[in-house]
């Protein structure tokens, strides 16, 4: 366990090295490597089907990569001897379509992780869950079931659910792309304040406003590899790769500035 690695740089909370993943003949990830420092927000963009979701799922092992390694701090997630459930508990995951537990109220959705995974007593977990719901501005919806909430509210509950585990790292897979335009803002606001509070976040999103103003670094993925990575100022004003340029202009056309 706790494998040391020559390229290890201090302070990296997440390290991904040489990740490969195929589904049948479909070679989706073709050697993805990246690092994140604690407190950083990194945004991943790239065309559809390029493996962005697969990358996030390989990081917390919801999909098992064929090759390559992933570290959370100094623990190797890809090491078979590591208890994956313990590691996953430290990595929040926010899904495009929320995936709230449909049979549980908002409160119970947020509470269930701390109770089942961390063994918190119900009273303590309730208190914690109410705090997290307050953090995403949904204290008054604690007793509502997912079907009674708007998409934006559901996504905020799902963020609260992830936060209740006090994760070291949050993964967001297109958290706003299933939302009506007028509901995107409320979710982005929550994410912006999380970033400001120093949460480490890896975000797949084509919300360029968010990427520009909040991220420390932007990754452009295409064809299963990272084509280009850089801080937003450089990335938007002087992309090195022609492909990045083409993609950015398409995105601006689609989503506006």
């Amino acid at each position: 366990m706790n494998e040391q690695h020559p390229s290890r740089s201090d302070g990296a909370i997440l390290r991904v090295e040489g990740l490969h993943k195929s589904y049948g003949d479909n070679h989706v990830l073709r050697g993805v490597s990246m690092q994140m420092r604690r407190g950083e927000t990194v945004v991943v963009i790239g065309p559809s089907g390029t493996g962005k979701s697969t990358l996030l799922r390989c990081i917390n092992q919801l999909s098992v990569p064929d090759r390559g390694r992933v570290w959370l701090g100094d623990r190797e997630i890809t090491c078979k001897k590591q208890n994956i459930n313990c590691l996953r508990a430290e990595i929040g995951f926010v899904f495009q379509n929320f995936n709230l537990f449909t049979h549980l109220t908002a409160l119970a959705n947020v509470r269930i992780g701390p109770m089942k995974v961390k063994g918190l007593k119900k009273a303590a977990a309730t208190e914690l869950a109410m705090d997290e719901l307050a953090r995403v501005g949904l204290s008054d919806k604690a007793d509502a079931y997912p079907a009674e909430l708007s998409g934006g509210q559901q996504q905020r509950v799902s963020i609260a659910r992830a936060l209740a585990m006090s994760p070291q790292l949050m993964l967001f897979d297109e958290p706003t792309s299933a939302l009506d335009p007028e509901l995107i803002g409320e979710v982005l606001d929550v994410m912006v304040s999380l970033a400001k509070e120093g949460m480490t976040m890896l975000v797949v999103s084509h919300e360029m406003g968010f990427a520009r103003s909040v991220s420390d670094s932007i990754i452009f993925m295409e064809g299963g590899v990272i084509l280009e990575q850089g801080p937003p100022e450089e990335f938007f004003t002087a992309p090195k790769e022609e492909r990045t340029r083409v993609f950015l202009s398409k995105i601006t056309e689609l989503y506006g500035e």
Partner: protein, 231 residues
């Protein structure tokens, strides 16, 4: 008239209890076996899946009456194992119901969206924890309507146990009419059979009403059909 009342009393006191007991036993046995079979079929390792599939195909493919005869006369004649008639019926119909119930639960488990399991695992729950606290409660709710169907057919299948002499409603009915069929020159066969049928009807109705109540008690917003047509 008094003959009818006496017959009804006899049916209710000396036939109904066995029918109810057998029905409950069958549903219970079917549930106890059907649920694990369903979970093994969905989440189990491959050999388990094949095994469960074989089991389910076998017991769904044999007529109920044949199964009852196998577990009674068949076992007795070939192996000298003479089970009490009630036990034979319980085993034969119980195995059969477990096969049907496993398919109800399998369908329910599989109609819980994949994302639910994914979200549970992403929180750090083990597969077993996720099944128990996320998949199971949802699958159980989804199972109630089709399970109501299974209840109705199991209840009525218990009448087949009369073939091996279990003294339940149908058997009691036939005993009554063979004894009194020509009282006062009236043919009572049809009358008694109608009485028997009525008792089944009332039982089915009450059972269904109870399950509908349960379904309503457990109802959760979002679990009813979405986009209901209101007129």
């Amino acid at each position: 008239m008094s003959t009818i009342w006496q017959s009804l009393e006899l049916l209710v006191t000396k036939g109904l209890p066995t029918t109810v007991l057998l029905t409950l036993g069958l549903l219970g046995a079917g549930l106890a076996l059907g649920f694990p079979i369903a979970f093994l079929q969905v989440y189990g390792y491959r050999p388990f899946r094949w095994l469960c599939r074989g089991y389910e195909q076998l017991f769904r493919g044999i007529p109920a009456l044949v199964l009852i005869l196998i577990f009674h006369s068949g076992l007795a004649r070939s192996f000298g194992i003479l089970l009490p008639a009630f036990t034979s019926a319980l085993i034969a119909l119980g195995l059969r119901s477990s096969a049907y119930q496993s398919q109800i639960f399998r369908g329910a488990i599989q109609s819980v969206p994949q994302g639910q399991m994914m979200a549970a695992r992403a929180l750090g729950m083990s597969k077993l924890q996720a099944i128990r606290s996320i998949i199971l409660p949802q699958a159980l709710r989804l199972s109630i309507p089709p399970w109501t169907n299974e209840f109705s057919s199991v209840l009525k299948d218990t009448s087949l146990a009369s073939a091996i002499g279990v003294l339940e409603l149908t058997k009691q009915g036939t005993l009554i009419f063979t004894r009194i069929q020509f009282v006062k020159g009236v043919n009572y066969i049809l009358v008694i059979l109608i009485l028997v049928a009525l008792v089944y009807l009332v039982l089915t109705y009450m059972g269904n009403a109870g399950l509908a109540l349960l379904e309503r008690r457990l109802r959760i917003p979002g679990f009813e059909m979405k986009g209901k047509v209101e007129r």
